[in-house]
């Protein structure tokens, strides 16, 4: 039996109808009661405010800063030169301002990749110049937009090697280069800029899929060989280290072999950029968190969305930075990681390790834009 196809419009109208019918039964008094209850709920939740967010950051007993720690992130700024497009420049400036206001300052700041839009030296340098104003130490990760004009020459010159690891307060951190693509350009005789623009596009069948690649996997295996399996592991990768939606390269082609390398570790968190949205997944014991972009929010992919993901609201078209933002990660003493999405002009959303692990407790709010 074939399932009857329902168009997006029909579904929308059905939902709308349902909502309106629901509202009919709600008298004004009833509505006020509901609002009052919501307000009371909010009041109990918001116990105190950290400088970073007014989130109900009352993670009783496990407040990072006691024993755990916090690092911030900024990601996917896609800078053009100012004279071409300054909106994205302002986005990055705003994120730096946000992070610099955090009190206490985060232990370090992860930059999640795609600093530049077309990998040009001027774009990367502009980004570097802005990121230099961060007060906390900076950890850089490369994205495909930084890479495919000169295959990493300028980026490496400015920021160092793209594959590296470090240890911080008992946690082993690994930064991967997950946006390697097999050569599709030589045969087609593409110029560097044509290659760059091919990779930068969505739904472009000419390019290949992202992968960590054989060399990257080898490096990762060697790096992890030195680390005890009980050590908490946090992996940074630009693309999600799983297969979500191939046409947009929300995808890592060798995800399975990479996951196999991570699997033996008891606590693993993968933090990725590229998808510009709240994105939550768990595969076995591996937790995955997507990061927000400072430039634009992507819509959710039409298929492949992980079940754990609670979608953020559609951005408000009147507010050009809605759906964008920055955020931070709270690393608990046990090595588990909460993701705090600091959406500009919305309430922060916290996706906790306890939610990712169970799919039930600490479920994030479905509507993150209650302020509207």
């Amino acid at each position: 039996m074939s399932r009857k196809h329902t168009s997006v419009e029909t579904r929308y109208m059905e939902e709308r109808e349902q909502t309106l019918r629901g509202l009919e039964g709600l008298s004004r008094r009833g509505f006020l009661k509901v609002s009052a209850a919501a307000a009371a709920g909010a009041a109990t939740l918001v116990g105190g405010m950290s400088r970073h967010s007014f989130l109900p950051v009352r993670i009783a007993g496990a407040q990072p800063g006691d024993k755990g720690f916090r690092f911030a992130y900024i990601s996917d700024s896609h800078l053009y030169e100012e004279k071409v497009n300054d909106r994205f420049v302002r986005g990055l400036l705003r994120a730096v301002d946000d992070v610099n206001r955090m009190d206490p300052q985060p232990d370090f700041v992860l930059y999640g990749g795609d600093l530049a839009q077309l990998g040009q030296a001027s774009e990367l340098q502009l980004g570097q110049q802005i990121l230099k104003t961060l007060k906390a130490p900076l950890k850089m990760m490369v994205g495909e937009h930084d890479w495919f004009l000169d295959l990493g020459d300028k980026w490496r010159e400015l920021f160092g090697p793209e594959l590296y690891s470090f240890d911080h307060k008992g946690v082993h951190f690994v930064t991967l280069m997950s946006v390697v693509e097999k050569d599709f350009w030589t045969e087609r005789k593409l110029t560097p800029m044509e290659r760059m623009k091919t990779v930068a596009g969505l739904d472009n069948g000419a390019q290949r899929s992202f992968e960590v690649g054989e060399a990257g996997r080898k490096w990762l295996a060697d790096d992890l060989a030195k680390v005890p399996k009980s050590t908490p592991l946090v992996v940074f990768s630009h693309s999600p280290l799983y297969k979500l939606y191939k046409k947009w390269n929300f995808w890592t082609d060798d995800a399975e072999p990479v996951q196999a390398l991570l699997k033996p570790f008891q606590r693993v968190t993968v933090i990725h950029g590229h998808t510009h949205q709240i994105l939550t997944n768990r595969i076995g014991n591996i937790h995955f968190h997507g990061m927000l972009s400072t430039a634009w929010p992507w819509p959710y992919a039409p298929e492949g969305l992980p079940e754990l993901t609670i979608q953020m609201d559609r951005p408000d078209p009147f507010n050009p930075s809605d759906g964008c933002g920055d955020g931070s990660f709270d690393v608990h003493p046990d090595g588990l990681v909460d993701s705090i999405y600091r959406l500009w002009n919305r309430n922060p959303v916290s996706v906790k390790a306890s939610y990712v692990a169970t799919g039930k407790t600490d479920r994030p709010p479905t509507n993150s834009r209650r302020g509207y």
Binding site: A39, A40, A42, A43, V46, G48, M49, R51, S53, F54, L55, E82, D86, R87, V89, R90, L93, R94, V96, D97, D98, N100, R101, I130, T133, L134, K135, F318, N319, P320, S321, D322, C324, W344, N345, R346, N347, P348, R369, R370, G371, Y372
Partner: protein, 430 residues
């Protein structure tokens, strides 16, 4: 000096309010109420609240009126008497008309308003003109309707100072005329909720939407200047005004009814410290009265909508004010910190004031001096024709003020030679 009020001026419907009101000793700068009443009469002549103003869709008008408070002549007359009655304040010196003065565009033309004992609050008095058409009341929307709004200033310690509604009722309940008027209006003895209802009914008469701009929209090409016509194009285009001030037949007042942080108070305050202070107070008591005190009486006023919703996304957000009659209601913004519409344009032109909660729609506009002048000229065409003289005077005054002083003008920011969040060294306090 005491004047007798001519009965004919005061009569609307059957009830006369006579000369029962004592003249307050201290007017707090307001025009004498007798003068205000004289000014009011021709302004509201011929308005039938049952039908609604000709410029508002009758369906919308009807929907905006609570079912238990259909405007009747008796209710409007009672509301008008209350609006001008200083006995509704603890020391008998402040009435609604003190800060919503009918000779001053139904506001007080001050940065922030003065209440009993010469106390000055933190919020700019919004005009009561067209307030009936707002989606919510007060700058932070802490009241849904006029009926609720009207009751709060009476018990605010800075404004009218009664400890509670009952005390306010007691102050007028002995007045035989009131007893009779409440009976006629609501078929009850004087009570606090009906005070709110009656004042709301009177405010529903104060609809002023007949401006040169409307004549222009109806096809009279000569109704507004060429400058203003260019301003209208900018309003909907480069100036981005219509993002928050949609102005169309469905929304004749030009407010989206939403709350936006445009950074006005980011110049003076650290939002995070304030928010924590406010939360500490609200944790002890979250009552309407506490909220009202926080909103009017202290620095926490700058938190705006956050005080009501306690949502981080609302910090520093204030409801978009209506844009109608803006030319004659200076100074501007929730704290009255801008003297002229040039200042307002300068503020938006530079992209507001950078702060962590700045609304994403606020960005540098790169408006030229001519474009700013066009937008100001356009805004002055939104003043109701019944205030044409005041409008001309205000325009000339503001033009002169702007020639002398443009404190918010910042060309480097406006033209994006300097970026908003880079303007102050990152991480420094705003």
């Amino acid at each position: 000096m005491r004047r007798t009020l001519p009965i004919s001026i005061l009569a609307l419907g059957a009830c006369s309010i006579g000369n029962a009101q004592p003249a307050p000793q201290d007017l707090h700068g307001a025009a004498p109420f007798q003068d205000q009443l004289l000014r009011l009469e021709p302004l509201i002549k011929g308005f039938d609240p049952a039908i609604g103003p000709p410029w508002v869709d009758p369906v919308i008008w009807k929907a905006s009126i609570p079912k238990d408070n259909e405007p009747t002549a008796a209710r409007i007359a009672l509301g008008r008497k209350l609006y001008f009655d200083p006995r509704l304040s603890k020391d008998g010196t402040v009435a609604c008309a003190t800060c919503h003065d009918t000779t001053r565009a139904f506001t007080d033309l001050r940065p922030t308003s003065e209440g009993i004992g010469g106390q000055v609050g933190r919020r700019n008095s919004p005009t009561t003109m067209n307030a009936a058409l707002l989606a919510s009341q007060f700058w932070d929307g802490r009241a849904d309707r006029l009926e609720d709004q009207a009751k709060l200033p009476i018990t605010n310690p800075i404004e009218m100072g009664f400890p509670d509604g009952a005390a306010a009722v007691a102050a007028i309940a002995g007045d035989a005329e009131y007893i009779q008027m409440f009976k006629a209006a609501y078929n009850r003895d004087p009570n606090y909720d009906d005070i709110g209802r009656a004042i709301a009914s009177f405010e529903r008469v104060l609809i002023f939407l007949d401006a040169p701009f409307d004549a222009f929209l109806r096809g009279d090409a000569k109704a507004i200047s060429e400058e203003a016509k260019r301003g209208w194009v900018l309003y909907n285009g480069k100036g981005r005004c219509n993002s928050c001030h949609p102005l169309n037949p469905a929304n004749p007042i030009g407010s989206d009814g939403r709350f936006h942080n445009v950074g006005v108070s980011a110049r003076h305050h650290d939002f995070l410290d304030l928010a924590n202070k406010a939360l500490a107070v609200l944790a002890k008591s979250g009552s309407e009265a506490t909220l009202d005190v926080l909103a009017v009486g202290s620095d926490t006023s700058e938190l705006g909508r956050f005080l009501v919703s306690r949502l981080e996304s609302d910090i520093g957000g204030f409801r978009t004010p209506l844009i109608r009659n803006a030319g004659i209601t200076a100074p501007y913004m929730h704290d009255g910190s801008m003297q002229t519409l040039w200042d307002v344009m300068d503020h938006y032109n530079r992209g507001g004031e950078a702060n962590p909660y700045l609304d994403g729609g606020i960005e540098p506009l790169a408006l030229s001096e001519q474009e700013i002048a066009d937008l100001v000229a356009f805004t002055f065409t939104l003043t109701d024709r019944r205030f044409a003289d005041a409008n001309a005077t205000a325009f000339a005054k503001q033009r002169d003020q702007a020639k002398a002083k443009r404190p918010f003008r910042e060309d480097d920011l406006a033209n994006r030679r300097r970026m908003p969040f880079a303007a102050t060294p990152a991480g420094s306090k705003p």
